[in-house]
């Protein structure tokens, strides 16, 4: 399949703004999504990600700003004329039509000849592994199957961009994981832009080529999953993706290739993030980078503390460590090293300088 007419599926949002009666849902965002990416809009409910999606789809009109699709401004084009298709959260499969008619719907609107419709629908169903289900009614399908029909229905039209509005939200955890892999594979096979809206950060990290983290109508950070996770630009991003172990510090001055930060009475060296900042700031360190050593172990960036609680996660242990400075952090310890770390054990938390990221307030 792929985009036959050379459209790359590039999306550009320029100062896009949408106000509803009392609320600013999208607060002047700029976004650039080159074609062919699996791009996620990630954020908590109310952050504007769904509104942004609906603006791109055409179900809402922007208050101001531009929406460029492959260079052309579609902000005021009605949805049925945009080369964009949507997979809805509740699938929105037409209940009065069977699977074939659902998938064929858009082709019929485009007045394609019957033979072409039959062929394309067949291929689309094959793509989502639902060949043979043509005559079924949507009520006879499971949630996962309905989702795939919705996908086929959208993809059969060869859009430049596919918009997905939390399509896996209604499925149970195991099915969700399986479909995440499938969707990612599908995007790579089809090659068009997938714009994916979700509040599940794990999902976004797993599937995306790049992520835009959103909060309260604006974009906090755009980057690859690694970037966004390891190098969060703001406190919000750090906190939203995984555990951040956010701590208040004072930045004194430079120290080697980083800066010197004071965490309570303890002095640490931080080598990541806004090391040029001075004064009050925050630091974050991911739990998997926190190393626990026996109490009193020497070396840079060791903070004395005590294991407050251990949570068994299956694949690892999550330890809640209360530091002498008064902060409480989480450490993630793979099995095989947990003998030391029972509840009540005094430890030294080693926070490697490269793993400490400074965020300006």
């Amino acid at each position: 399949m792929g985009t036959e007419n050379g459209n790359r599926g590039q999306i550009e949002l320029i100062e896009l703004r949408k106000e509803f009666a009392e609320v600013v849902a999208v607060d002047g965002i700029d976004l650039d999504v080159p074609g062919g990416e699996f791009f996620s809009l990630l954020g908590p409910s109310g952050c504007g990600k769904t509104t942004t999606l609906r603006l791109i789809a055409g179900f809402e009109q922007p208050t101001s700003g531009r929406i460029l699709l492959d260079g052309g401004d579609v902000a005021y084009t009605p949805p049925h004329k945009r080369n964009v298709n949507t997979v809805f959260q509740n699938y929105a499969l037409f209940p009065h039509l069977n699977v074939f008619d659902n998938v064929a719907f858009g082709l019929r609107r485009a007045k394609r000849p019957k033979a072409e419709i039959a062929e394309r629908v067949g291929r689309a169903l094959e793509l989502v592994q639902l060949s043979g289900y043509e005559r079924r009614k949507s009520s006879q399908l499971s949630g996962g199957q309905q989702q795939r029909v919705a996908l086929a229905r959208a993809l059969v039209l060869n859009p430049a961009v596919l918009l997905l509005d939390e399509p896996l939200g209604a499925l149970d955890a195991k099915l969700r994981k399986a479909l995440q892999i499938e969707l990612k594979a599908l995007q790579q096979e089809v090659g068009i832009t997938f714009l994916y809206v979700t509040h599940d950060q794990e999902e976004a990290l797993t599937m995306s080529d790049r992520i835009a983290v959103m909060s309260e109508g604006h974009v906090e950070q755009v980057g690859t999953p690694e970037t966004v996770y390891e190098e969060p630009a703001t406190v919000f991003v750090a906190d939203f993706l995984g555990t951040s172990n956010l701590m208040d510090v004072t930045v004194d001055g430079a120290d080697g290739d980083g800066c010197r930060v004071r965490l309570g009475d303890v002095v640490l060296r931080a080598a990541s993030g806004a090391t040029d900042a001075r004064g009050e700031a925050k630091i974050v360190i991911r739990p998997e980078h926190v190393e626990l050593e026996s109490y009193g172990a020497p070396g840079e960036n060791r903070v004395p503390g005590m294991v407050e609680r251990t949570v068994y996660l299956g694949s690892a242990d999550q330890l809640v460590v209360h530091l002498a400075t008064g902060d409480t952090i989480q450490a993630l310890v793979r099995h095989g090293r947990s003998t030391l770390y029972e509840q009540g054990t005094p430890v030294a938390a080693h926070l490697p300088a490269d793993a400490i990221r400074v965020l300006a307030r």
């Binding site: 055409g58 049925h80 037409f94 009065h96 719907f105 858009g106 009614k137 006879q140 959208a154």
Partner: protein
């Protein structure tokens, strides 16, 4: 220390159960069962008796003297089939019912969709206006319609046209309420999906929304037919005499004069027609929404999930 083992009560003997019931025959469920079924019997049996007497062999409506179809078609003078008053009344009722459905249903469907989605400043008063006929006592409506045809729209005289206009006026709101419920169940998603897939607004409305609204449209048509057949006050106030009397008016006249079992007969016929149309609507609703119920899309009908 040994504790005398107590044998737990595995089951209650019948005797104990009966004694328990007798000790408290006013125990709530029992009392409620009694009240409820007594009410149901009191509510329905009189009508059944009236139906029974429509088949009475003699003129009496109070003394049963054998089964006969004379009041329906047999009696050459007084049966429903032969008595011109009764026949005309039946025809008039059906005429009004049919016209009411044909006019009120489309207007009501459009009004329902319009009101549900209109966001402007006029929508609140419009909604308010739509609710008004539902809360207005019938005599007030009857008076107002009679006066408007006597003093304002004087080109319309009392009679069939006026009756139809009156019926439609009170029926529209019922259509709106029924269709509106269905609209809320459906939501916007299907039309948005249709537009997303290339359907113009017209196509989205006609090929997606309207088919999905069909159960509500059919149901509201049946309801309009039923309430039109059963209407008394408006029909009476706008009637111009014998030729435009409907069945309820005839029944009314008969109960105050000397009713014959033929009155029972025609009342029975109307009742059967009403119930049939409602049953059909109910079945149509169930049939149309069978697929959705299996997919557990909410299908509410005036507050009840069917």
């Amino acid at each position: 220390m040994s504790v005398a083992a107590e044998r737990p009560a595995a089951s209650i003997s019948t005797g104990e159960r009966v004694r328990g019931w007798l000790r408290n025959p006013w125990g709530r469920p029992r009392f409620l069962v009694l009240v409820t079924w007594t009410y149901v019997v009191w509510s329905i049996v009189p009508v059944l008796i009236a139906v029974q007497f429509s088949f009475n062999a003699t003129r009496s409506r109070t003394v049963w003297q054998g089964f006969s179809g004379r009041w329906y078609w047999g009696d050459p003078v007084d049966s429903v089939w032969h008595d011109p008053t009764l026949r005309h009344a039946a025809l008039q009722s059906l005429k009004l019912g049919g016209a009411d459905v044909l006019v009120a249903t489309p207007i009501g469907v459009l009004l329902a969709i319009g009101l549900a989605r209109w966001r402007g400043w006029g929508s609140r008063p419009a909604n308010f206006l739509m609710l008004f006929p539902l809360v207005t006592p019938e005599i007030v409506m009857g008076v107002s319609l009679l006066l408007v045809f006597t003093h304002v729209f004087t080109f319309i005289h009392t009679g069939t046209i006026a009756q139809i206009l009156g019926h439609v006026t009170f029926s529209i709101s019922y259509v709106v309420v029924i269709v509106r419920g269905r609209l809320f169940s459906i939501g916007r998603q299907y039309e948005e999906a249709a537009a997303d897939l290339g359907a113009s607004p017209t196509v989205a409305l006609t090929r997606v929304l309207l088919p999905l609204l069909t159960p509500a449209i059919v149901a509201s048509a049946a309801v309009v037919f039923a309430i039109s057949l059963d209407d008394f006050v408006i029909s009476q106030w706008l009637s111009s005499g014998g030729g435009t009397d409907t069945v309820p008016i005839v029944i009314y006249g008969a109960t105050r004069a000397a009713p014959l079992p033929s009155t029972n007969a025609i009342a029975t016929i109307m009742m059967v027609l009403t119930l049939l149309s409602l049953a059909l609507a109910f079945l149509a609703w169930r049939a149309f929404t069978r697929e959705e119920r299996r997919a557990s899309v909410a299908t509410e009908f005036g507050g009840f999930t069917v």
